[in-house]
């Protein structure tokens, strides 16, 4: 049998997604604003690769300097350690986004996978998976996070952080996906696909997945939001990776490690807070735009 190269096949799967994104971008103001802001944020984070090596050190610059336009290092002021708030912020944005996006990738896909399998296969598999999910649902999230964060303290790296936050954020999506799959499973086109004789996994991939994509996208963006929030929350408790710049650790250092809010060193805690808000708002815009386009029946997707 002559097969298409795998990559083309995968590309084929993503085509609707890309088409959808382009359409949304073209027609939805919210989406456009959100996506542009997000891109700007990512670019801002990307600048961090240019961080001068000595900025990883302390007391490179005079401490507690307010923002000034004299050089890029002090454009956003300096910290009490004499570090550049600008470089710290770019790194923080990048790291936080990486954590959040990794979390979204892990958690929403685990949720998706479990929900898909449970919903599509039904029966014992469904019951077992849902049992595990429900057991996770009843464990309170914050204590779970705290426990895990403390447990993994020594080996906490960015991917680990994402893994950790994922643990508390997959069960609900799994439940929702399952509910959707159960109703999708009954749709006629699934029957048609079964009749074409393709194996089960392909049925799931070709028939059910595309219908979950929109929701999945929203869920993933929401997970990104959750992850940013969770990382900030853990940081405030001192449980994040304190030696790395993230939005959370910046808040931690500027407000708890070196309390600067009431000292008038506003330029240090403010960027991470504002950036958190901007990340949230841009993702919120993207997510609501997708949700709206899916809900309004003239959705671009179909």
């Amino acid at each position: 049998m002559r097969k298409q190269p795998l990559l083309t096949r995968i590309g084929e799967l993503f085509k609707p997604l890309v088409r959808y994104t382009l359409l949304l971008y073209k027609f939805n103001l919210k989406f456009r604003v959100g996506l542009l802001t997000l891109t700007a944020l990512i670019l801002f984070g990307a600048i961090s690769v240019a961080t001068p090596p000595h900025h990883w050190k302390w007391f490179v610059l005079p401490k507690d300097q307010p923002p000034s336009l004299s050089s890029i290092d002090v454009i956003m002021g300096t910290t009490t350690n004499g570090r550049s708030v600008f470089w710290a912020s770019t790194n923080a944005v990048l790291n936080s986004l990486v954590i959040a996006i990794l979390t979204a990738l892990i958690a929403s896909h685990v949720g998706l996978f479990i929900g898909l399998v449970a919903g599509y296969r039904g029966g014992l598999i469904d019951r077992t998976l849902m049992f595990i999910t429900d057991s996770f649902v009843v464990i309170p999230q914050l204590p779970l996070l705290i426990l895990l964060a403390m447990l993994l303290r020594d080996i906490l790296t960015i991917p680990f952080m994402a893994l950790l936050i994922s643990v508390s954020s997959w069960p609900w999506p799994a439940r929702q996906v399952r509910a959707m799959v159960i109703s999708l499973r009954e749709r006629e086109f699934v029957s048609t696909a079964i009749l074409t004789g393709i194996p089960e996994w392909q049925v799931i991939l070709k028939e059910i997945m595309p219908h979950l994509l929109g929701w999945h996208l929203i869920n993933a963006t929401n997970t990104v939001l959750y992850a940013i929030g969770a990382e900030v929350g853990l940081s405030v408790l001192g449980l994040s990776i304190l030696s790395i710049d993230t939005l959370g650790t910046m808040i931690y250092w500027s407000m708890i490690g070196y309390p600067s809010l009431f000292r008038g060193v506003w330029w240090w805690p403010l960027p991470p807070i504002i950036l958190t808000i901007v990340v949230f708002v841009s993702l919120y815009l993207v997510s609501t735009a997708i949700a709206e386009s899916i809900e309004s029946k003239r959705g671009v997707i179909s």
């Binding site: 429900d134 309170p140 204590p143 705290i146 426990l147 407000m255």
Partner: protein, 336 residues
């Protein structure tokens, strides 16, 4: 619709309830046990770190004695069984954080504070958030609704810590209407004055929670839901029937968003037992969250497990009760 069916369903659901919490408990226990935290060493370190005069040899003896009196002996399996017994009696023995006070009585001491704060803030947030969210969705095009949405989206991601500090600065420092900490009430007897000062002391912590969760979470979710219900055929149809808008909002929109929101409320109420660590820490509010955090970080298994169990029970009971009463509040369930 048979009563027998209901009974059977309830029975299965209850068995399931116990099965899930059993798994959840075991999982938490495992995690706690894996923690590299050690209560005994904490005490020892405290002694040495404070420069106390303690005979070096005696210190080593003390260490061994502490393991015994803190109940940290026995095989993991024995300890697990002891723990499981605790799950049912909710008695995990003496706390370490406040040795020898039983962990149970610590929880009992803190529970009213936590419930007092979180129960009411959850309810208040829920009501305010839902009302505002609904209004903003109903008047989608109005400027006020857009401003409200903007405010909500901006407030929501602000970390609790920051929000609380700003509130304190404004309302306790600059305009000192409220006390700096959440429990500064002198109470000789319980009269109106004390009750008022309790309320006053709890206002700021409550406010910080309400702002973020009412204007943030509940507002946004209720808005989304309302928008969705508003687009339903039956709402448009009611409108075409010439029914007054008030009635449509009340009977068609409100009732339909109420159901999912009641579910969410039930779950939110289930989670209050794990407290609100950050709020409690900032306001010096004596709640379970902070206690739990400290218990975990000092290796006080008995206290940590008491609270975690309570909150597992809370969430599990919340879902159980919801599942059981849902058919009564949502006519559609049980038929789909």
């Amino acid at each position: 619709m048979s009563g027998e069916g209901l009974l059977r369903f309830a029975l299965i659901r209850v068995v399931y309830f116990f099965a899930t919490i059993f798994t959840a408990f075991s999982l938490t226990y495992l995690l706690l046990r894996l923690m590299p935290v050690n209560a005994v060493e904490n005490v020892i370190t405290q002694i040495t770190a404070q420069g106390m005069i303690y005979d070096p040899e005696a210190l080593n003896i003390l260490r061994r004695q502490l393991y015994e009196i803190f109940g940290l002996v026995g095989s993991p399996w024995e300890q697990y069984l002891r723990y499981l017994r605790g799950v049912f009696t909710l008695d995990f023995g003496p706390s370490i954080l406040a040795f020898p006070t039983p962990a149970k009585s610590l929880v009992v001491r803190y529970l009213p504070w936590t419930i007092g704060l979180l129960f009411f803030t959850t309810i208040i947030s829920w009501v305010i958030g839902n009302l505002l969210g609904m209004l903003s969705a109903l008047k989608e095009e109005s400027i006020l609704s857009k401003i409200l949405q903007g405010v909500a989206v901006t407030l929501y991601p602000i970390p609790y810590y920051v929000m609380a500090l700003v509130l304190i600065f404004l309302l306790a420092y600059l305009i000192p209407i409220f006390p700096l900490s959440g429990s500064s009430i002198y109470m000789e007897r319980l009269d109106l004055g004390t009750v008022l000062s309790i309320l006053r002391a709890a206002t700021l912590p409550a406010l910080s929670i309400v702002i973020v969760s009412a204007l943030g979470w509940w507002f946004l979710s209720s808005r989304t839901l309302t928008l969705r219900v508003k687009a339903e055929d039956y709402v448009e149809q009611a409108y075409l029937r010439g029914l007054p808008e008030g009635l449509i909002v009340k009977k068609y929109i409100m009732r339909n968003i109420l159901l999912p929101q009641v579910t969410a409320l039930g779950l939110a109420l289930g989670t209050i037992f794990s407290g609100a660590v950050i709020t409690e820490a900032i306001f010096a509010y004596p709640g379970l969250g902070l206690l739990l955090f400290r218990a975990i970080s000092t290796g006080d298994y008995s206290t940590a497990l008491s609270i975690v169990s309570l909150s597992i029970y809370g969430v599990a009971l919340g879902t159980l009760i919801l599942d059981l009463i849902y058919p009564l509040i949502d006519p559609r369930v049980g038929h789909r």
